[in-house]
Symmetry: D2
Subunit: 390 residues, 4 copies
């Protein structure tokens, strides 16, 4: 049923999202010059990322299958503390268990990539089915004001690139990053042009080796607001981090009221500031204004694209925006939305991105929600487009 695609020249192979994710993480390790340490606990549909990475130890990849989800993420946090690229892979129930440790990583301001290969929930739910229902957990599922970047891949091959992007943001901004994929991407395969490493942008990490003037562990880069990634044991850079609030000016533990306000605002500003460092919102398909804007994220990409194309072929003024960045949202998204009479948000959940868009832009975004553990069909999106244009 899929028409023969015209693909650019190059070497192709069929790749699943989980394999692409594993390779992307490994590529990120090379691009950054960091060793990769994966702490993981098996869970459907994420386990095959662990399997794939275990086979890549000749690339400096260390995989640790821990005894539970919490041990897994804590090992990854410890690896980052020691100067490696700490990663944990899991699915929704695992993220629920890891919430407290992710919060710790936020407070430590250490790199950490949490890959959530989403499945049908809540609770054990439907492990072998796909869903996008961890979005709000990804954005809000931690105690306190604990913002972290949330990214989402939209095709199997895109898992490769978003893994690199997650790593880039994580080490540049010294923050855990949540990368969302789902069971449909994980196990789905597409012909994928193997990129040349030379075509990928390196982001080499250099650790401080000497004590900079005025060093303290939470001394921030004025641009990124990132703190320095000092490796424990580096002479002159001995320091202490931990889960308690820290003083902005010294990095020591602090219970000062104004300082806590300032630090909370600073952590939020650091994450919000990433918006300057990501591509501005732009239509995947269609113009920047019109009657209807379809906003999606994640594995619904293909179905939405096809549906929008068909609607446009039928003369409808419909455009598509597909979000790879959910926190922060890409710059210009509000202006783009304002150019349309109506916004619909197809999601494989009961309405999550729509909640965020409504709150952020006060737009009456309408959710098109399918919670069956199965991907959208093009026809389902088409029908929703037609109904919302009527």
């Amino acid at each position: 049923e899929v028409p023969k695609a015209k693909l650019p020249a190059g070497t192709y192979r069929n790749i699943t999202g989980n394999d692409a994710l594993a390779w992307g993480l490994t590529a990120a390790s090379k691009l950054s010059g960091l060793k990769l340490v994966l702490g993981s606990y098996p869970i459907t549909p994420a386990s095959s990322v662990l399997h794939a990475l275990a086979k890549l130890k000749h690339f400096g990849v260390t995989t640790f299958q821990a005894e539970d989800e919490i041990a897994a993420v804590c090992a990854a946090v410890g690896a980052s503390w020691g100067g490696a690229l700490g990663i944990t892979t899991t699915s929704g129930p695992g993220v629920a268990l890891k919430g407290e440790a992710i919060g710790l990583a936020i407070m430590l301001e250490l790199p950490l990539i949490v890959c959530d290969i989403q499945r049908g929930g809540p609770s054990t739910g439907m492990p072998t089915k796909t869903e996008q229902s961890d979005l709000l957990q990804a954005v809000y599922g931690r105690n306190g004001d604990a913002p972290m970047p949330v990214l989402a891949a939209c095709t199997p091959g895109d898992c490769f690139f978003m893994a690199i992007e997650a790593a880039r943001i994580s080490v540049k901004y010294m923050t855990p990053v949540m990368l969302l994929t789902d069971g449909y991407l994980a196990n789905g395969a597409e012909p994928w042009k193997i990129p040349a490493m030379a075509d990928l942008e390196p982001f080499p990490v250099s650790f401080p080796t000497e004590r900079p003037e005025g060093f303290h562990p939470y001394l921030r880069d004025p641009e990124t607001l990132a703190r320095p990634w000092a490796i424990p044991g580096t002479p002159g850079l001995e320091h202490r981090i931990g889960g308690l609030e820290k003083d902005f000016d010294s990095g020591n533990i602090s219970y000062d009221p104004d300082n806590h306000h300032k630090m909370t605002k600073t952590r939020a500003a650091k994450v919000a500031g990433i918006a300057k460092d990501i591509p501005a919102a732009a239509p995947e398909v269609g113009e920047t204004s019109g009657d209807l804007l379809v906003i999606g994220w994640g594995s619904t990409y293909g179905a939405i694209t096809q549906a929008v194309r068909r609607a446009r072929a039928a003369g409808k003024k419909v455009s598509q925006v597909h979000l790879r960045y959910i926190n922060p949202l890409p710059p210009g998204l509000g202006e783009l939305i304002a150019g349309f009479d109506k916004v619909i948000v197809p999601e494989m959940n009961n309405g999550m991105l729509s909640k965020i868009l409504r709150s952020e832009f006060l737009v009456d975004a309408v959710g098109i929600n399918k919670i069956s553990g199965q991907p959208f069909k093009v026809s389902e999106i088409q029908k929703a487009i037609e109904e919302n244009l009527a």
Copy 2:
């Protein structure tokens, strides 16, 4: 600075929020006819609820200090499964750890009261300071579409009544309930009129003893959508529950796509339907329309009330709504909001209720956010009122 209060006649005592919470939970046990089982792990500022309940064993209260937060909540879930009123008390980091088990309780559709005595976050944060920054975690912090009722007490004495209300909703709707208080309520004390048990509305629970026609564990009450609370071991009512999705019509495990959609919608409808069973939104202070509406929740009650009264004494058209129910929101709140030109939302966090209100009502609610680990002063709210009226 506090003027001498005129209090109604009765017996008074000074009570802290944590004591009131413990007594309220115990009263709920009596009003429902259920044994109370608390599974808890010590954490500031929640520990004294455990201490207080441990002293009440002559009222049929069982307290279990578990070895960790997860063991604590799981013991409470197990107690509910066995027909008791299962309760767990904690603070934000504990809720983060319990997220997966709370999701299980949502899927099991069993009563469970999760009391989150909020403190400064994220991570370990500032354990001895107060904050309201677990609101979004309470509403969204679980994998999958996992809605649960979220209630909030607004004074130390109100902890008593909201504990009863949490229990009432939990057993009537067969759902875990999150009850939010915070460090300021927990340790703060107010003169409190001891209520007579006879004045409290009982909500006796009767377990099915015989097999009803067509019994299955997820056979729902058409009114409340609650499933039956059949006690394991009751002859004829043998059944199986668990974290996997269940068939609407038989309660058996199901991977059917349409069924999952239906069950997810049903769980959401059950929680949303509680709105019919709670008081409609009404101003605490002021009229139902005007220039400015101040919407608060939790321990900011006193400061907001005083500030609104002062503004009104100065001739401003300001009203106050204070939310004890955050999920679902009380009926009529949207209409009430629509009667005001502007809405401000003072919170001891970086903007959480405001996010929910913006999304729900597409109102440009302005957050007045203090994240210092300290309660608002009346003057701070007053200033915000004035600035937003200007």
Copy 3:
């Protein structure tokens, strides 16, 4: 094949060893006036004790199914600390996991009954098969010099009486007690005369309510060497216990060399002194001297008895001693052994009691070892008797 037994008058019922154990523990609770708290984790073949006790809650029995073996025993230790009769039931792998916590109970000098329903080992072994191979673990399986009483039941009905005896020793001497049964006793049944509670000897526990002269938590009874069982929270009896070594004269933590020597010797003497409080060694069958003594313990009782009787019927000078107490050994056992030319020790393990007897009495005890997960046949013992008499 079993000849019709002539049984004394009374009410009989068929009882399994696990049921008898559960009832014996409950009877001990009544005889001592203590509440019974069982902390347990399911494991074959011990789980049915948990099931049986769970049904006895109207007798003041609290059962707690913990999340793992360690949590289970720790809950029982905590219950004893609070003044209840703390019990944990398990099988060999569970005892291996509980070793550290049992050592804690030894140091705390608190009552605790550890019931090991032995099965085929090592490791997971053969869960559904019987074996006596935890004996040396029971006696020696803890770090440090950590002696504790070890008792063993020898018939299903004897589980009832040995449970009571374990409790009596545990509370009188303030020590954990290991009670060994095995899969053959656990699931085997015998017609059992239900004892009248009035015929059982009570051993009421009275907790100190006022501060005795010179009270400290390790102030010992000069007779039993037991420390006082002061309930936490009793005014005037506030005290602290824990896993670190304590000062003999004050109960405070002590690193004094001579004190540690004294305390280690005292703990050993306390356990050794129990020998004065248990029945002296005496033949079950046969005279106190002869050619061959068959020493057994546990569920081999029936097979050995029959075999010895048959040998005696054939004119052999054979006697049987069956040990219900393995640590300490019953008084007079050495003298009894000295009256025989030869000693054999049939065991369903690779030679454990024989090791202890050899070490204790320097007797060349010969092991008759069957490690097949199956009970001895009478004929197997008979054959061993004959071979060792030849």
Copy 4:
């Protein structure tokens, strides 16, 4: 008080027992050609072995600080399963916690070195004091018939050599090995001649790469009774191991009675057979017969040697045997013992080796026991020698 030692030529450095242990383990890794993986959890006085090994990662050493003692040993077992030299270091309470996992390693028949740096017990005991009181736990502290080799180092420098010996036995016989040292060795230092790697005997491990005729995972070498160490994932050598009993002839799970008997006997024979592969018992000091034999093990070496030398200088017919192998005991020990009128066994515990010797050789070995958390003084041993010669 120590006379100036005459030392052989070479390069010397002061070394603690824990450093020597770490280097010995690393040397064993080189001698065997295996990667070393340490799974450990901090505990006094073992932690510095973890610290020392963490510094040796350029020698292919991987150190993993786990979240608890059980996670630590399980990670080491998993490393051995994957073809590395799995090691765990701990002290007595840690061994108590690890007992079940060590039993698993016995059943899996995988290499594993458990280093127990003994301290004062029982329970938490006296963490910073030395003791030899884990001996019986080392030999017997597991469920089922679960024999494993137990070795003991006797000087700080000897920790190096016994670490290598533990590794040699572990990989040759496919069995976990317990290596006992203690706090006195761990922190004590001696001038130590750094050995040349060329002087150490390599024991290269070669994993099967092709499927041998009749391969199954428990197919034993007829000489050592060791099973093959097939690496998971090797094509043609796919196999399954686990904690359940296995069939002698196929390696499949088996509940056959005769098979269990045979396998238990075989596991015991494998460990007992190591006696052929270790040095025969011989006096450290003195002749092979005389009036008094002093048998020691572990860190008492120096004090006993001095005391025996002094007694011999005074004309006493005293000899010393010092055991580096406790299970199995060295060949010829019984004959050696038979050459003496009396045997004394000085130990820093309440009598553990003496129990084993009494049982094994029916010799009335007299314990000289010091349980003060402090090493013996030479004069104390001297006094014991004199008293036992009188």
